[in-house]
Amino acid sequence: MNAQTIDEEKEELVACHSCDLLHLKTPLPEGGKAYCTRCGELLYAESPRAIETALALSLSSLILFAAAHLLPFISIDIEGNATTIFLVSTIETLTEIDSQLLALAGIFLLLIAPLIVLLVDVALLYRLRFARPERSTVSRQLMLLSRQMRPGRSVVSRQLLLLAGHMTPWNMLEIFLLGVLVSIVKLASMAGITLHEGFWAFVALVLVNLIIAVKLDSETLWQALERLER
């Protein structure tokens, strides 16, 4: 048995990441999902045109992310004293009153982690969707060079995908949204609250991110990257 056939056989096997049981891969219908027979964990899913759909969604997500941060978020009115805040005002205020730990948590969970995941998604999906075998001379030379260092892999894409994978658990936008709703209820009895465009962009952002999470798993991205570099 040569290395090639071992490699082909492995393509048809999948190990459950919850209990390590090996399964033989079977073709799924469109939108179908395969679960582990022993512990019930999701093994793999067949989502047709996942790359195209996710690219469109993550571009919308990026625009909404910008809108949520650049447009006014929420206004409060307590007995005639009114103020309007932006999303970034939360971090600003925390820094002003010397709550550095909370400011750091806020910056990381609400800005850095979601933005990294989003930017990597857009960049990689764009590359996977529009990659052509014939490239400009410079990028072709760069790719050949990177292949010499690590055969069959694109160093940058691989590092980006790894980075996004590490950031994913720390992306807490949807939890922040629930926090905003709880705050509104807390304030409703003592103050007038007005929601602005930034808030609605944020709601849309959370919804679009949820759809991306359903449509696109990291295995799809890794496989597409593998095919591209073969």
Partner: protein, 206 residues
């Protein structure tokens, strides 16, 4: 060649294969080698899983006390400061008749951390001392608590938002209390505890 153990179930490990922890790629197991797809170090099971998971769980448990005993925020109205703890906030919401929101905050801030401590602690003990029964339920339980864990962060976000919104100097202003950072740290440490736990250790006892 491949041994299937007592139960006849063929795992990747029994077949001499390993699924990369980071990207999931299935490949032949060679000790000390790197994943052929993502370049991460290959391990059959997450390295030092039990020790790391315990360490973060104990840290989280220690943080749970300041997070609940100290005030999470201070509201100053006409120069009079008033401290409120997490439980105090829930009680206030309840008294104002916001029952669903009071319930959400109570579940997210009080119940979820306790449930998470109990479940991760129990699973860690089961890996060490337990018999392999109802492993499917144990695995599913872990997936649930891993998913709901970060939702405890709600109260921290409420504080962050209220602090930014209510800065009216003389009339009213809100400042974060020492419990806010402790609570955020507790949620983050429990998330690390769950990230380091390897459910395959439960199944290895079969």
């Amino acid at each position: 060649m491949a041994s299937t153990g007592k139960t006849g179930a063929l795992t990747a490990r029994n077949a001499g294969l390993v699924a990369c922890h980071v990207c999931g790629k299935l490949q032949p197991w060679v000790a000390g080698s790197e994943c052929s797809r993502c370049g991460s170090m290959l391990h059959q099971r997450k390295p030092e899983s039990l020790q790391r998971s315990w360490a973060f769980l104990v840290s989280a448990l220690l943080l749970y006390f300041p997070a609940n005993l100290y005030p999470i925020m201070t509201t100053t109205t006409f120069g009079v400061p008033e401290n409120s703890t997490i439980i105090g906030g829930v009680i206030l919401l309840w008294q104002h008749g916001s029952y669903p929101v009071a319930a959400v905050v109570f579940i997210a801030s009080v119940m979820i951390p306790i449930i998470k401590f109990l479940v991760i602690g129990a699973l860690l003990l089961l890996v060490r001392y337990g018999h392999p029964v109802k492993l499917g339920q144990q695995t599913r339980l872990f997936r649930y608590i891993e998913y709901i864990g970060p939702w405890s962060m709600i109260d921290v976000f409420v504080v962050i938002l209220l602090v930014a919104l209510i800065q009216f100097g003389g009339i009213a202003s809100v400042y974060p209390g020492p419990a806010a950072a402790a609570f955020a740290a507790m949620v983050i440490t429990t998330m690390f505890s769950a990230l380091f736990f390897d459910t395959r250790l439960l199944w290895d006892k079969l």
